[in-house]
């Protein structure tokens, strides 16, 4: 198993109802797997999930990317700062 840290920001935080969580991933899990697992665990994420961006260890990550051991994974909407 691979225990990772999940961070939620903005609309994703509102949807999850919390700022962070831990998640145990099967070995070889990808970003797409993380999204599926999180959607099951946090049904409130659903509306924001289709447009969510994902970062793994503070770099943008994409569905097919593998998750390294102990990764810090964040979910958030497209950025709107400035």
């Amino acid at each position: 198993m691979n225990r990772v840290k999940i961070l939620f920001f903005a609309t994703l935080r509102d949807g999850a109802g919390c700022k962070d969580a831990e998640l145990d991933l099967p070995l070889g899990a990808t970003v797409a797997d993380v999204k599926t697992l999180l959607a099951e665990k946090f049904p409130g994420l659903e509306p924001a999930m289709p447009s969510a961006l994902v970062s793994v260890n503070r770099e943008f990550a994409f569905d097919e990317d593998a998750i390294p051991d102990g990764a810090e994974i964040a979910l958030f909407p497209p950025v709107s700062g400035g």
Partner: protein, 155 residues
């Protein structure tokens, strides 16, 4: 001039932006020009339907935001090698109308070396890849401002 000595300042902060101090930090003995962009909270917005903002609440994924600011600075240096100093600062927290929220500043020996384009590129990129979000609080409640840029692999 050693590139390693060129000052790069980046920060996510809750403190007021001090343009004088930031400019001083990116001014070398060889610097003759600076282009600075600041964004402010608009209290009244006309474009996209007239409405009123009471305040904005800014939130950042700080360590990634600072890493992406460093990346924006690297991109600026590779495109405009004559740039000397770069400052990229995003203020977060509750920010009221007329308050500067973000600053991008680039210095160079002369003004015709791309400093204006470099600063403009910097704010455009910040709004694409630096993970900061804002929620607009109006008289009738709050709403997240929606971004629309989808970063590509490697960004």
């Amino acid at each position: 001039m050693e590139p390693l000595n060129l000052p790069t300042v980046f920060a996510v902060t809750e403190d007021e932006l001090d343009l004088n101090a930031l400019l001083d930090r990116i001014t070398l003995a060889s610097t003759g020009a600076a282009a600075i962009f600041t964004g402010m909270v608009r209290g009244q917005t006309v474009r996209g339907g007239e409405h009123e903002t009471v305040y904005l609440e800014y939130e950042a994924y700080r360590p990634m935001a600072e890493a992406k600011m460093a990346q924006v600075a690297d991109e600026i240096r590779s495109r405009w090698p004559s740039v000397e100093g770069i400052a990229i600062v995003q203020r977060v927290g509750r920010l009221y109308p007329r308050t500067p929220t973000v600053l991008i500043a680039c210095t160079a020996a002369h003004r015709n070396t791309g400093v204006f384009d470099a600063a403009r590129y910097g704010i455009d990129r910040l709004k694409e890849i630096v993970p900061v979000w804002k929620k607009e609080i109006g008289p009738d409640g709050g709403e997240w401002v929606e971004g629309d840029y989808i970063p590509k692999p490697g960004e």
